[in-house]
Structures are given as structure tokens and as C-alpha cells.
Symmetry: C2
Subunit: 441 residues, 2 copies
């Protein structure tokens, strides 16, 4: 891996590292638009046609049956089911804590406002197929959706050309309580959930990562007002802030771990210790050697990887906040002190025994995280993502009297006299009727 001084890094190298893979999808928009119109008009038939065209099965039934789910359990090792259940327990424990109801706020005498948790009734979870199966991502979406109380939890995943979904994905969906599973992939799956078809229900929000076609379809669906989406997904990334207390072997293993996701993953270490950087570079060589995924690792590290040497921890932190990494590891003597200064990151891992891989699978935190600078504006997936906090306010006659003048003055300034009238009418005496009404208020 390239080692460089942060201070003297060339503008072009800095730009390459900071930008990482931009993952543009403008060029696929016309194709995706055609697919979406096709599904809007043709429903299930169109979904089947596109499924077949893009490498899936031409099978008639889009919905996965209970028998198929049971068969999947037989194909998967018992240790995998146990691992999925163990991971789910931790995800539940952490995510359940997000569901506290807020107490009502007494704004003043006679004015009380609450925020109530209300589930998004129908949600769509997209699970990519292709090179690998990602049952862990199913848990990360389906568990918070169930905790939030979403009544329809619809999942779409592309099948192979014999009509099979990955067995581990089916088991994960079943363990996590997905209510409806469909064989549909790519832009046609997103379109089906956005518009609804004969088989696939329309949903109000679509979640999950995917290739450029999937991302383009999600963005188009959101822009057309059909549904909300979680956030645009991009290649995986890690930034590690390390000082001389870090173990070079641990750092190297964590950089490689992120780099194996794809050949455009981004892996950056910033350290105050030049000897550490040199040892990390050596360990990266050793630890990559035996891996079946070594070619992806090598490509990623060359394209978007770097070991940077900073003059101070504060310089390292400033770079990290500017980079806004999806995963941030604080492999330093006092991670809590560094944490206070971190503003932009998706998931932060503190200490030498907290590799991002632990959060990817098992600590219970959510691994659906903002990438590619999006950590400056978006949050990790959570139960919040599957519900809305609705305002509910109670105002009595006394409360309304207290704000009567404020409403009247501002309504007049804004040229909205009927807004003033809506308050005033409640204080106009009409043969005692107002007093009677007041008793009910």
C-alpha cells in the first residue's frame, strides 16, 4: 500500500482518495426508466420478462412459497441458522432501545405536544443476488422493520436461472419475520414495489443496496414521489485512525477486510506513527497472500487505499471528518477522547478489539450505513428509518387564549386572514354557545 505524508500529499492523490468511487448511474437512467414504465404497464408479466432477460428464471410464480422456505432450511448448515439467530438477538437488543416513546411536552398552560411513533405500514427490502448471498443484510433491514411495527415487510431478491433464491437468504428472511418474499431483481423489483403489481404489493419506502440499476430505480421512484427510499448506496469503505498503541497486524487485517467487498472499496489509515504505517504495509502483504479474495483486495487497495502519516491526532481527525467514512475505527490509546471530536461518520468502532467486521455481523449495530461522503447528511439504518414520529397536540381554550394574539399578528403579516379567523371564531360569543363549547374543549 502507498504510504504518504498527509501534509505533502499531492492534490491529485488527495482528490482521488477523498472522492473514491463516485458510482455514477446517469448512463443507466434511460434503460431504468424504460424498465420502470414497462412494469407500471405490464405488472407481473413485465417483471417475469425482465427477470429472465437479466439472468434470472422465467418461472411463473414470483412469490416464494412456504415449501421453498422449509427446503432452504434443509440446504443450510445448522451452524448457519444458529449464527443468524445469535446475530438477530443482538440486533434486536440494540434496535429495541431506539423505540422509546417520548414524554409529552408541556409548552405552556393548556398546550401539550407529543411525538408518537407510527410505523410505515408497508416497506420494501431489496436484497441483491449475483456473486454472493448476503443474509446478514436481510437481518439488518427486516429486524428493525418488525420492531417498528411495519405490517407488510416485503422482500425482493433475484433468483438464479433455475428459480432459486440463496438458501441462507431465505432462512434469514424467515428468521427475521419477512412477511412476503418475491423472486425479482434489479430495476424491475424496485419498480414492482413502487407501483405495485398483481402479486407484489406497493410499498411506501424501499430499502437496501444494489447495483447501479437498482440505485437508479430507487432514486427515480423517490424523485417521482412514488415512495421514500433509505439512501443511495455506494461501495464500502473504512477509515482507521491509529496511534503508536495500535497493532499493525490488526490494522492490516481490517483494511483488507473492507477491501475484499469489491474492487472499488475504499480503505484509508491515518496515523501519527510512521513506524506503524511501515509495519501495516508489510502486514497487508502477508495477510492478503492466502486469501481467495486477494485479487479484489489488491485492486481496491491500489485504487482507493492509502496509509497517511499525520503530524497530530487533530490533523487525523480533521481529515476523517472531511472524508466522512462509512466505518471509522479509532485504534488509539484514548478512543473516547477522539470520539468527542468526530462529527461525520456512519458507524464508529472504539478500541483495538472492535473491527468493523464485528459490527457487520454480530454486535447488534446496523451495517446499512451511508457511504461516499453521505455520512455528512444521512444516518445509519435504524428503527427510526421504518417509522415516523407524528406530532399530536392538545390545546384547551386557556391554551388557545394564551397564543391568540401571536397567531393573529403573524397571520396578518403573512396575508392569511382566515388563519386569524379560525382562532377568533372560538372566542366570539353567540348566545352562550361558546361557553358551552368551552366546557367540552
Amino acid at each position: 500500500m502507498q504510504i504518504a505524508d498527509l501534509r505533502s500529499l499531492s492534490p491529485s492523490d488527495l482528490d482521488r482518495i477523498m472522492r473514491r468511487s463516485a458510482a455514477a448511474f446517469d448512463d443507466v437512467l434511460p434503460v431504468v426508466q424504460r424498465i420502470m414504465h414497462g412494469v407500471q404497464r405490464g405488472g407481473d408479466r413485465a417483471v417475469r420478462r425482465y427477470n429472465k432477460k437479466f439472468g434470472g428464471s422465467a418461472g411463473h410464480e414470483l412469490r416464494v412459497t412456504r415449501a421453498e422456505i422449509e427446503a432452504a432450511y434443509d440446504k443450510v448448515d445448522a451452524s448457519v441458522v444458529a449464527a443468524l439467530q445469535a446475530a438477530m438477538r443482538n440486533i434486536e437488543t440494540f434496535h429495541r432501545s431506539e423505540m422509546t416513546e417520548e414524554p409529552p411536552v408541556h409548552v405552556g398552560p393548556g398546550i401539550e405536544i407529543r411525538r408518537l411513533n407510527r410505523p410505515i405500514e408497508r416497506v420494501g427490502l431489496y436484497v441483491p443476488g449475483g456473486r454472493a448471498a448476503y443474509p446478514s443484510s436481510v437481518l439488518m433491514m427486516a429486524v428493525p422493520a418488525r420492531l417498528a411495527g411495519c405490517s407488510r415487510r416485503v422482500m425482493c431478491c433475484p433468483s438464479d436461472n433455475e428459480g432459486n433464491l440463496p438458501a441462507a437468504v431465505l432462512v434469514a428472511a424467515d428468521v427475521a419475520g419477512v412477511t412476503d418474499i418475491f423472486k425479482a431483481g434489479g430495476a424491475q423489483a424496485i419498480a414492482a414495489m413502487a407501483y405495485g403489481t398483481e402479486s407484489i404489493p406497493r410499498v411506501y419506502k424501499i430499502f437496501g443496496p444494489g447495483n447501479r440499476y437498482v440505485t437508479a430505480a430507487k432514486v427515480l421512484a423517490a424523485a417521482s414521489g412514488l415512495c421514500a427510499i433509505d439512501m443511495p448506496a455506494g461501495p464500502s469503505e473504512v477509515l482507521i485512525i491509529a496511534d503508536e498503541s495500535a497493532d499493525a497486524r490488526f490494522v492490516a487485517a481490517d483494511l483488507i477486510c473492507q477491501a475484499e467487498h469489491a474492487d472499488d472499496s475504499a480503505c484509508v489509515m491515518v496515523t501519527t506513527s510512521r513506524p506503524l504505517a511501515e509495519r501495516v504495509a508489510q502486514e497487508v502483504e502477508h495477510l492478503t497472500d492466502g486469501l481467495p479474495t486477494r485479487s479484489r483486495v489488491a485492486t481496491s487497495l491500489e485504487r482507493y487505499g492509502i496509509l497517511l502519516i499525520a503530524d497530530s491526532l487533530d490533523d487525523a481527525i480533521a481529515l476523517s471528518n472531511d472524508y466522512a467514512p462509512e466505518h471509522l475505527q479509532l485504534m488509539v490509546g484514548d478512543p473516547q477522547a477522539v470520539l468527542q471530536k468526530i462529527v461525520n461518520a456512519g458507524s464508529i468502532f472504539l478500541g483495538h478489539y472492535a473491527p468493523a467486521a464485528a459490527g457487520d455481523y454480530a454486535t447488534g449495530s446496523n451495517h446499512v450505513l451511508p457511504t461516499g461522503e453521505y455520512a455528512k447528511m444521512y444516518a445509519p439504518l435504524s428503527v427510526d428509518s421504518f417509522m415516523r414520529k407524528v406530532e399530536a397536540q392538545t390545546v384547551t381554550m386557556e391554551g388557545l387564549a394564551a397564543i391568540r394574539q401571536t397567531v393573529g399578528t403573524l397571520a396578518t403579516v403573512e396575508g392569511l386572514p382566515a388563519h386569524r379567523q379560525a382562532v377568533e371564531v372560538r372566542f366570539q360569543s353567540r348566545g352562550g354557545r361558546v361557553v358551552a363549547a368551552a366546557k367540552r374543549g
Copy 2:
């Protein structure tokens, strides 16, 4: 206003009411795209050119000076400043309650996860100009942005052709602590905040309502990954659920209040009482008569207004959940009981003395709300909208040991061996080094 039985409503009437104004913006996309490219290339010069072209001033200075703000205070009545301050106090009281830090969650021995509140550092607030000035909307965005801790709170508002912003808007921005105010409107203002110009800083999330050009620009900016946006804005709407306990005059005043926003506002009452519906229709006539805004009111009520008679409160609630109103008023004998069954709504007003107008200006709740069915997926604006909850997890060697097998099994299923390695490397003994590291972990 039209009175109709919910049970026997014609499909075309039901469709018209449920759809309300769709507010499509597809036809303006090409123009907006041109403006956005223009601002990306031309910066301030392009913003000034478009400002002039679309009815604003050709003035050189985009930034509002301190002297202009001071002058605005002189143009505004003292009662308006007092009303803005009173409204702001209530907004602060309610919104401050949203900022609680969550306690850490102990997932298991050695695994602790927290969610930390982190502000979105730079936010952009768009305030429309044109027919009216909306200082109240400035408060609804700028107060939560300040509470969240956003360090740059940038506001854009179109000026008149002499280069002036509405005085009340300037005063509201100053009272609420906006840090940077610019004279820029329409798509060019959104583009300026999305790309950044010489004067106008790039922001990470853009808030605020606007016309179709503004909405199209926000949607395009979000789709291109330049920034996040709050939500697409549409025409204002209210749905009132009323039983025989409601005062027809209050109901009528509240329907009219919503209808005066624009000629495509939507106003629906659903009641179990036919006599109430008939009295409301009469009162709407009386109360509209004297209003300067009566022409907009009449147009809105005719296009998207209706008084529906339902067989039961449950039928009324089902319609409301399907409609997903921006404002929902529960003018019934037992509003708390009805509230339990409400799933889809933006802001809910309980009782006979809680008109939506009170929340628009003064109760402290936020009036930037989802419209046009978006209440099924989006929440009211809140402090949450201006920050992210970042995950921070501490894992000790003991904690990592507890999940070691789960990570290994799932990484293997997903074909990601370096993920397994990242955990295993921490348990491989290499001449005692691991033990030493463990003590630091």
C-alpha cells in the same frame, strides 16, 4: 361545499378527493436542469442573471448585510417582533425535548453501543417569496437547525426587483439565528446551495417549500447525490374528523383557513353527523363572505373540498388513514380514543380548541409537514431532520470472543474470508503480543 355519503361516493369523486393536486413537476425538469448546470459553471454571476430573469433584482451583492437586517427591524411593527419571539419560545420548548441523548446499550458482556447526536454541519433553508412573506416558516426551519448545532445555517430567499427581501422574513431569520442570508430564489438558489458558489456556501441538506421549479431542483440535487433534502413539498391540506359534539362554526372556520393557502389546497371533513355537515356547509358560506382571500377559498373548496358523512367513527378513521392528511383535526368527544387508531398523518390536533392555525404559528409544533400522501412515509420536520444519530460501539476482547463464531460462520456463508480473518487475527498468539494488546483493548 359538496356534502356526500362516504358509502355511496362515486369512484370519480373519491379519486379526485384522495388524489388532490398532484403537483407534478416533470415538465419543468429540462429548464431546471439548465439552470442548475448554469449555476454549477457560472457561480454567483449565473445566480444574479437568473435572479434578474425571474423577477428579482440584478443587484451585485447576493449576501444580505447587517445594515439591511437592522433596517428591516425599523420597517416591522414592534408587535410583529414580539409575536415572532413568542412563537420562537414555544418552538424552542417543544423542539428542545427531541434532543435527548440515548443511554448506551449493553448488548452483552464487552459489547456496548450508543447512538450519538451529531449535527449536519451545513444546512440550507429555502424561503419562498412571491405573493406573500412567510416569516413563520423561517422559524420552523432555523430554530431546530440552531438547536441541533448545525454550524452554518444558510438561508436563500428571492428579493423583489429593487433587491429587498420581506422585512418580516429578515427579522425572523435574525431572531432565529440564521448565520448567512442571501438574495436568491427559485432553482438557482437551490443549485447555489447544492454546488456552492463564490458567495453562497455548499450545504449538505436543503430544506423548505417552494414552487415547482424549487421542488424540481431539490429533487434533482438529491438524486444526483449532491445533498439530502427534507421532503418534496405540495399544497396544504386538512382533514377534520368530527362527531355531533363539534361546533359547526369552528369546523367551517378551520376548513376555510386551510383553503386560503392557495387555489389547490385540500379540505375534507368526515363526520358521523348529517346535521353537522349541513350546518358546516352554511357556516362556510357565512365565514367566507367577508374574507379578502375568498376567491382562493372558494376555488380550493370546490376542487378538493368535501363534507363526507360516514356510518361510524371507525369508517371515518379508515378514510383518514388512507388519505394521510398533512393536518388532522379530531373534533370529537373523545379525541384520545380516536388518536390511538390514527396511523398516517403529519400533525394531529386534538379537541375543539386546537385549530391547525394554532400549530401553524404558535403552539411550538413544527408546521413543515408531509403533504399529498407523503404522511405515509415522511415525518414532520424536527431537530432530528437537522442531525444524524451516529453509531458508536465499544467491543473488548471478551466481547469479541463472544461473537467470534457468529462472525466467522456468517462471513464464510457470504464468501468474505477476510472478514473472518479480521476477527481471528486478534486471537492468534504471536509471541505474547496478543496478550499485551488485550490489556490495552
